[in-house]
């Protein structure tokens, strides 16, 4: 079975002004969104109010969640504790509209306000609910993670660039880095736009997007290198176009396969990995598009050429003089 016409020679490079322009626009828009709207950080990052609620009769966590959402509270985290009669509800003060503007409150005051609102909402549905305790829980993401994270990202960037520089050529390293930044920024931009909760697992998957998208780009670059070496006098534009076309089916099939698994995770993995799966899905889409439409035009503009890619084994003056 083949979905893609293997003889297709679509002129992707012909679209380069448009496609790269769009990519730059998306990046600028993402940065603007991130700066203006910011992220909806999860409790990993900002902490929240934790309330233990006891029920006289067994209760389902989904019902509790529904009761809270109905009362206008966003993203309540409901977990069963021990048996089926006790739950812990975690909420950020800003998600509780009753306590809007609660940022000015102290931790204890916010805890009191938010927990009171939670209890009102829960008692309206189930009168047998009683509050056992409430507390303000601090954020989990400390300075360590931030500094470790910066070192890790720097390590990855330097490592990948170094590898591509040695195995390919410096223009490939630069193009890979540029598209990499594009992919991450746009993924983050979508998160800022939709205001989905940004927690530690989402951060992990944003970093996984880096891995996925670099993998995707290297496959195209590999073909570019191969075709440059084997072609006699094709222009760089022709070579790049042919590279994208001949790796196109692989690019899309792999994205589809990875997408399928992430969709399975999204629909059946439960709420814990929701953020992870959706981020990966966004990242796969963005990464695939930038592999096809952005990476190669960048190579062209950076001036990639046959001479740079020939294996520099022996310098034969006789060969040099030949046309």
């Amino acid at each position: 079975m083949e979905i893609f016409n293997h003889n297709a020679n679509f002129n992707f490079l012909g679209l380069r002004r448009f496609s790269v322009g769009l990519a730059v626009l998306l990046m600028v828009a993402s940065v603007a969104l991130i700066v203006t709207k910011g992220f909806n950080y999860g409790q990993d990052f900002v902490g929240g109010v934790a309330v233990d609620v006891a029920y006289a009769n067994p209760v389902d966590t989904n019902d509790v969640r529904q009761a809270l959402t109905k009362a206008g509270m966003e993203n309540p985290l409901v977990q069963a504790v021990g048996g089926s009669r006790e739950v812990t509800v975690r909420l950020q003060p800003k998600d509780d509209h009753g306590a809007a503007g609660a940022t000015a409150l102290s931790g204890d005051e916010a805890a009191a306000k938010v927990s009171a609102d939670i209890m009102v909402a829960l008692k309206a549905v189930r009168p047998d609910a009683t509050m056992k305790s409430k507390s303000y829980v601090g954020p989990q993401v400390g300075e360590e993670l931030r500094s470790d994270g910066i070192y890790a990202v720097l390590f990855v960037i330097v490592g990948i660039m170094g590898y591509l520089w040695i195995r390919f050529e410096k223009r490939f390293a630069i193009a890979a880095l540029a598209t990499e930044i594009h992919d991450v920024l746009v993924t983050l931009g979508i998160f800022a736009l939709t205001q989905r909760e940004f927690d530690l697992t989402v951060l992990a998957s944003v970093l996984a997007v880096v891995g996925y998208s670099i993998n995707d780009k290297v496959v195209v670059f590999d073909r570019v290198r191969e075709l440059f070496r084997s072609s006699r006098n094709a222009t760089p534009e022709e070579v790049l176009n042919r590279s994208i076309n001949s790796t196109l089916s692989r690019t899309i099939i792999t994205s589809l396969f990875t997408g399928i698994t992430m969709a399975a995770l999204f629909f059946f993995g439960g709420t814990v990995v929701h953020g992870f799966a959706i981020t990966m899905l966004i990242g796969i889409l963005v990464g695939t598009l930038s592999s096809i439409f952005v990476a190669s035009p960048l190579l062209l503009w950076l001036g990639v050429s046959k001479q740079d890619l020939m294996p520099r084994a022996k310098e034969d003056p006789e060969l040099e003089r030949r046309p």
Partner: protein, 624 residues
């Protein structure tokens, strides 16, 4: 056949067999169990077993097995359900009393022949089996405070002993070290050289001098502070481990995270309040000299006028005590404390062992103060979090309590006994407080979470489902799209899962939900190598190669691409792995292992199978 050497076939077969064996233990689900271990030398033997059997019979909770392991001093009773386990642990805890620690446990059901070759199942993270998670942070300012206070006292004593005239020795603002005002430049130089010789970790600098006041500043070197705070973290981890053992949790996870955080994961514990009481008892203790008489202490408590060299504290029964402001030794210098009975008069006592630094100070003090009182001060800290101007401000609330006040009977050093305790229980409790109180630096609980066991089971179920569904869909899609070669890739992908699980189990990676997400992602991406190979083979066929040549060139050409793509991907996974925090790290480890195993299965294993199918035959077409 010539394409694929025989040794490579052997390698594939061996790796796959070993992989299957080491992945196998994960098939066996752990069984709810109760683990009993003895305290203070209480015997774990056949007698205990009969006692346990009897207790279980009266509680009407049947155990599926009760095993005594005399070597480890542990008894393990297995149960059919979590409910039985809870009932049994309650009954046993009450029935066995204080001499035994009863802990909830998950007993491995892995057959002994597998365990004998070190094949164990992956330990499950809290999110998969339920429990409590605490994240604690060591208070760095308290570390600096305690060091600077100590150096201030030490320097004052040093100058006094060596007869150097000084106006004052005081502590500067936090982090600024100790300020000394001396009377002459000669005194200053003498002081500087004395401090330099005795305390190489201090940096001594001259300050302003005017008339007859010559200022000298001694500050703790940053390297020393770092080393101290690392040492304190290590010691705190040890102390917390001891405390958790008191709680009776089996296989707790207590480890340092980053520069100043400690993670405590207690699987199977559901009662945060109880856990917090023991772990979060952020306590230290201090030995201080008792001053003045009980009457004077009463008077001071009543009138509120405390002598300048003393500070007023209260005992557990609200009795007032006047104690010296100077600390003789503190909790971080305590090695251990055990309760017992005095050999001469048989009264309950506690024996304490100090480390060498503490012993030296204790010796000096007790030599000079025989017959005088000494007190043990127990200090607990709780943390109030307040929001001020939108920023989180944490204010520590400190409770200080005199837990022991007695006269010194004679000079002592490293090891000494506290006698005259009213009862065995009191002695045991004091020993527990002393042991648990030896936190080197105060820690604050910055976050806590509880995961119910039902939620854990639910997560396992969902995780398993999504792995199987993701795998199934990819297997199906590959088989449809690449036909025979797709089926070969499917076999390889399945073995990739087996190998991934085997490696994770063998090196003992704790499986968590983010880890499962990593497995799913790895499976999705592992097929990439096969997609590359199949696409290459198709290309070669279109270019007119013969089937066997197409396979050979396909594998050759795809290999370079696979290598480049995977090395860069590995670098990214390595970055994730080195990041400090839980979910990110766990995910990175899974991804890293997954990339390595997928390189083997999708290239070498598929090549072996392909060579087996197509080798030695004349082919007209390929099913790809």
């Amino acid at each position: 056949m010539s394409d694929f050497p025989r040794w490579k076939y052997a390698l594939v077969v061996i790796v796959l067999l070993v992989g299957i064996v080491y992945a196998l233990p994960n098939v066996f689900r752990p069984q709810p169990a109760v683990q009993i271990s003895g305290n203070r030398g209480a015997a774990v033997d056949a007698t205990l077993k009969t006692k346990v059997d009897a207790l279980l019979a009266t509680a009407k909770v049947p155990a599926s097995a009760v095993d005594v392991n005399e070597k480890d001093g542990r008894l393990l009773a297995r149960f059919g359900s979590v409910d039985d386990q809870a009932k049994a642990s309650e009954a046993l805890r009450v029935g066995l009393g204080d001499n035994y620690t009863v802990a909830l446990n998950l007993a491995s059901t892995v057959p002994s022949w597998l365990r004998s070759i070190n094949a164990n199942s992956m330990p499950l993270g809290l999110d998969l089996q339920g429990g409590v998670h605490f994240l604690m942070e060591v208070d760095q300012t308290a570390v600096i405070d305690s060091q600077e206070n100590r150096y201030t006292d030490d320097i004052r004593a040093l100058l006094h002993d060596k007869g150097v005239q000084y106006d004052s020795v005081t502590r500067n603002a936090r982090g600024q070290g100790v300020n000394m005002v001396l009377r002459s430049d000669a005194d200053r130089q003498k002081a500087a050289s004395l401090i330099g010789a005795d305390y190489p970790d201090l940096l001594v600098t001259d300050g302003a001098s005017s008339g007859n006041s010559f200022v000298l500043t001694a500050s703790v070197k940053p390297a020393k502070l770092r080393e101290l705070s690392q040492g304190m973290i290590t010691q705190n981890v040890t102390t917390l481990r001891q405390r958790v053992n008191q709680l009776g949790v089996s296989e707790p996870l207590i480890q340092q995270q980053g520069a100043n955080q400690i993670v405590v994961d207690l699987a199977g514990v559901q009662d945060t309040a109880e856990a917090k009481k023991i772990i979060g008892a952020v306590a230290t203790l201090q030995y201080r000299a008792g001053l003045y008489t009980p009457q004077q202490a009463m008077e001071a408590a009543r009138s509120g006028s405390v002598p300048p060299d003393a500070k007023l504290y209260f005992g557990r029964d609200h009795q007032p005590y006047l104690l010296s402001k100077k600390i003789i030794a503190s909790g971080d210098e305590l090695v251990t404390a055990t309760s017992g009975r005095d050999q001469q008069n048989g009264s309950p006592n506690v024996s304490v062992t100090l480390n060498s630094a503490g012993a030296r100070k204790m010796q000096e003090f007790t030599n000079d103060n025989v017959g005088k009182p000494m007190a043990v001060l127990y200090i607990t800290r709780t943390l109030d979090t307040k929001m001020v101007d939108g920023k989180e401000v944490k204010t520590p609330k400190v409770t200080e309590e005199v837990i022991n006040y007695a006269n010194i009977s004679g000079p002592f050093g490293k090891q000494f006994q506290t006698n005259g305790l009213p009862s065995d229980n009191e002695a045991a409790e004091l020993a527990l407080l002393l042991r648990g109180g030896s936190l080197a630096a105060p820690v604050d609980i910055v976050s806590e979470s509880v995961i119910g066991p039902s939620l854990g089971a639910d997560n396992i179920d969902k995780g398993f489902k999504s792995v199987m569904l993701g795998l199934g869909l990819v297997l199906l899609a590959a088989a449809i799209y690449y036909k025979l070669f797709g089926l070969v890739a499917d076999i390889a992908l399945f073995f990739n899962l087996v190998l991934l699980v085997a490696v994770m189990s063998a090196i003992g990676v704790t499986l968590t939900m983010p880890g499962i997400a990593g497995i799913v992602l790895t499976l999705g991406m592992a097929i990439d190598a096969n997609v590359l190979i199949c696409e290459r083979i198709r290309e070669e066929l279109r270019n007119g190669s013969s089937p066997l040549a197409a396979i050979r060139t396909g594998y050759d050409k795809a290999w370079a691409t696979i290598l480049d793509a995977n090395v860069t991907h590995l670098l990214a996974a390595l970055g994730l792995m080195t990041m400090g925090s839980g979910p990110i790290k766990g995910f990175g480890v899974t991804l890293f292992i997954g990339i390595l195993t997928s390189m083997f299965t999708s290239v070498t294993v598929t090549h072996a199978i392909t060579a087996l199918i197509h080798g030695g035959r004349k082919l007209k077409t390929l099913s790809v």
